[in-house]
């Protein structure tokens, strides 16, 4: 999976769950400024886990602030 594909998956899950257009969000985007609250973000993560068949434990989410940081975490879980 390429990085742009990963970003695209994030954009579409986040747009659907937060019910707003997040199709222009890029990796430098600060999650707290996207208009997604923490409950919705947890749902977005749940959705990425299912789409990509990965598991991201709660304690690894501590300190994640940007979309890029979240995607790094996701990318690390994907089979090489």
């Amino acid at each position: 999976m390429t990085r742009p594909e990963l970003l695209q998956i994030f954009r579409s899950s986040a747009s659907e769950i937060a019910e707003k257009d997040l199709s222009k969000v890029d990796e430098s985007g600060v999650i707290a400024e996207l208009g997604i609250d923490s409950l919705e973000l947890l749902e977005v993560i749940g959705s990425l886990e299912r789409d990509l068949d990965i598991r991201i434990p709660d304690d690894q989410l501590v300190g994640i602030q940007t979309v890029g940081q979240l995607l790094n975490l996701v990318a690390n879980k994907l089979p090489a």
Binding site: D37, S38, L39, L42, E43, G46, D58
Partner: protein
């Protein structure tokens, strides 16, 4: 269903059915694949084993054990083991992933110190987060992981005699304004309350039921409603982690379907979220006709949310009579009133204008009544329990007059641990002053909101939840992310609305919100603050904190999106 003479959690556990047929099903994040089953008998054995291990940590009868454990099975087992060993558990919420670490450490430290906890029990994965608490609390003798505890060889435990009047556990309230306070719940309180709400006048639970929950176990509704209620009244129970619902809200109803669960409970927001997330194709695969009761409590109940849920899931066999609004609070152990089970929802449409004077007059013509408000009946008090509505002088008010809700009975606790001042404020002559405003009509209780949150403008009363729900209808504003409160401006109370939103929408939102409030409650908004999403202060259970928001606003610490107009 008849109950034995068992009067403590320990003797109730000993009275649960023997054999392997009934018990706890604990699930992890992987659903059925991660299920751990304990029959009640096996659970009791496991609790005795762990009790003997806890005793070897030098924990004595009456000592306090702080529990910061996220995994449902390990949490419930550790909690009950402590009680069996005569130790008082103090549940503390595990840190949510995105919350600030310092505030979390401060809260845990405060609870550990107030409770005088001797040991803090946690897991290897959570240990790094709570290690700092250990450094801040010289009174805390030990930070123990469950993994380490399991290495201690089992001994024949010398179990203390536990009495009904003994303290069973300390329930720290999430503290929407102040630091958390520890409600002292005795065995007698717990057994009385569980039998009241699970008994014939409440849920009417039997061994044929299966309760299904994802509610957090460090709060009263999940802990007492499910984990402990299951033991007191022998109710088969399935518990899944709260994060499972957080990651995928559909898992709640899917699990009810898959396990043929018959009982569940959740706050209002969960019903709204479940309704929103269920897609048409999800509904086709969902059979909810076995759901006998779907209780709603812990936060104000919006009649529209209840109806939308019932409408959405009717095609799955969900019966609207299954919805059961309830009212309660930790200071009364858990439940205070229940709507009669398996009967249609009862709501009351009252005149907004009359409500401003504290009178719940039925509204027949909303246009002439300055608008109307619909409230959901939370039913009546349980046998041996009472409620009344009182005015500021403590005099009992008649039906349809709004006042403070007071309750008394065997479920009402004795007060807050090591906090006589707050106890004296909250209890009076055996009555618990709930701090909630409400009224009684046709014998049913209607809850209007927190007394301290009441907004009084030019002598008229406004209930923040009514205003917040109306504002949540404005496009771009989300339910549960709006706060209404009042502040003094030039010697007069003025209404302030704080709502989360994007900076690019701020100007339009301010206008739309002010217009909506004027239209629905007839009051002019003094100020609308649009703030960054996620920045309104919330409790550990996700409720917005009105008084903290007001304090932020008053100290100019609420960071608003700049005005562009």
């Amino acid at each position: 269903m008849t109950y034995s003479a068992a009067d403590t959690l320990v003797s109730c556990l000993a009275n649960t059915p023997r054999g392997t047929a009934h018990g706890f099903r604990f699930r992890g994040l992987d659903g059925q694949a991660s299920e751990r089953y304990f029959s009640f008998e096996a659970f009791e054995l496991a609790a005795h084993k762990r009790a003997s291990q806890l005793q070897q940590l030098d924990l004595r009868h009456g000592d306090k054990l702080a529990l910061v454990v996220g995994d449902p099975a390990e949490f419930v087992l550790s909690f009950v083991s402590a009680v069996v060993a005569g130790v008082v558990p103090v549940p503390i919420y595990p840190r949510a992933s995105f919350k600030a670490k310092n505030a979390y450490i401060d809260t845990v430290s405060h609870i550990v110190k107030t409770a005088g906890a001797k040991v803090l029990l946690t897991t290897e994965t959570t240990k790094p987060v709570v290690e700092e608490v250990f450094a801040h609390n010289p009174g805390l003798a030990r930070l123990q992981t469950i993994e380490g505890l399991q290495q201690i060889p089992e001994r024949d435990p010398a179990l203390p005699q536990v009495a009904a009047s003994d303290l069973c556990f300390l329930q720290f309230t999430s503290g929407s304004t102040s630091l958390p306070k520890g409600v002292m719940v005795t065995h007698a309180n717990l057994v009385a309350n569980a039998r009241a709400f699970l008994g014939p006048k409440g849920v009417g639970a039997t061994l044929d039921d299966l309760t299904v929950t994802w509610l957090p176990l460090y709060h009263d509704m999940g802990l007492i409603g499910f984990a402990l209620g299951a033991i007191v009244c022998s109710v088969p129970t399935l518990i899944m982690p709260t994060e499972a619902f957080g990651r995928r809200p559909n898992v709640w109803l899917e699990t009810l379907h898959q396990t043929q669960g018959s009982l569940t409970f959740a706050p209002n927001f969960a019903y709204a979220l479940a309704t929103k997330r269920a897609r048409d194709k999800d509904l086709e695969a969902l059979d909810l006709h076995r759901v006998r009761l779907a209780g709603c409590g812990a936060e104000p109940i919006n009649p529209r949310v209840m109806r939308e849920f019932a409408d959405r899931f009717a095609r799955c066999g969900f019966r609207r009579e299954a919805l059961l609004p309830a009212y309660g609070m930790a200071e009364a152990t858990l439940a205070i009133t229940f709507h009669p089970r398996e009967t249609p929802l009862v709501t009351d449409l009252v005149s907004s204008e009359a409500m401003q004077k504290g009178e719940a007059t039925p509204s027949t013509d909303p246009a002439a009544d300055g608008g109307s408000v619909e409230l959901v009946s939370c039913g009546q008090a349980f046998p041996e329990h009472e409620i009344k509505i009182v005015d500021e002088q403590g005099a009992t008010l008649p039906e349809r007059r709004v006042g403070e809700i007071w309750t008394r009975g065997p479920s009402v606790t004795q007060g807050y641990y090591q906090n006589p001042a707050a106890t004296a404020e909250g209890w009076s002559d055996g009555w618990l002053r709930t701090g909630d405003l409400g009224y009684i009509a046709d014998g049913n209780l209607y809850v209007c909101g927190r007394l301290k949150d009441l907004i009084i403008i030019r002598g008229a009363n406004y209930y923040p939840q009514d205003i917040e729900w109306a504002v949540a209808d404005v496009p771009g504003v989300r339910r549960d992310n709006v706060v209404a409160f009042s502040v003094q401006r030039n010697g007069e109370e003025t209404l302030v609305i704080a709502a989360e939103g994007n900076s690019s929408d701020a100007a339009a939102l301010r206008k739309a919100i002010a217009a909506k409030v004027a239209e629905t409650s007839g009051v002019t908004v003094g100020h609308v603050a649009i703030v960054r999403v996620g920045s309104l202060p919330k409790t550990s259970s996700g409720k917005v904190q009105r008084r903290r928001t007001r304090a932020l606003f008053e100290t100019a610490a609420l960071e608003e999106h700049p005005s562009v107009d």
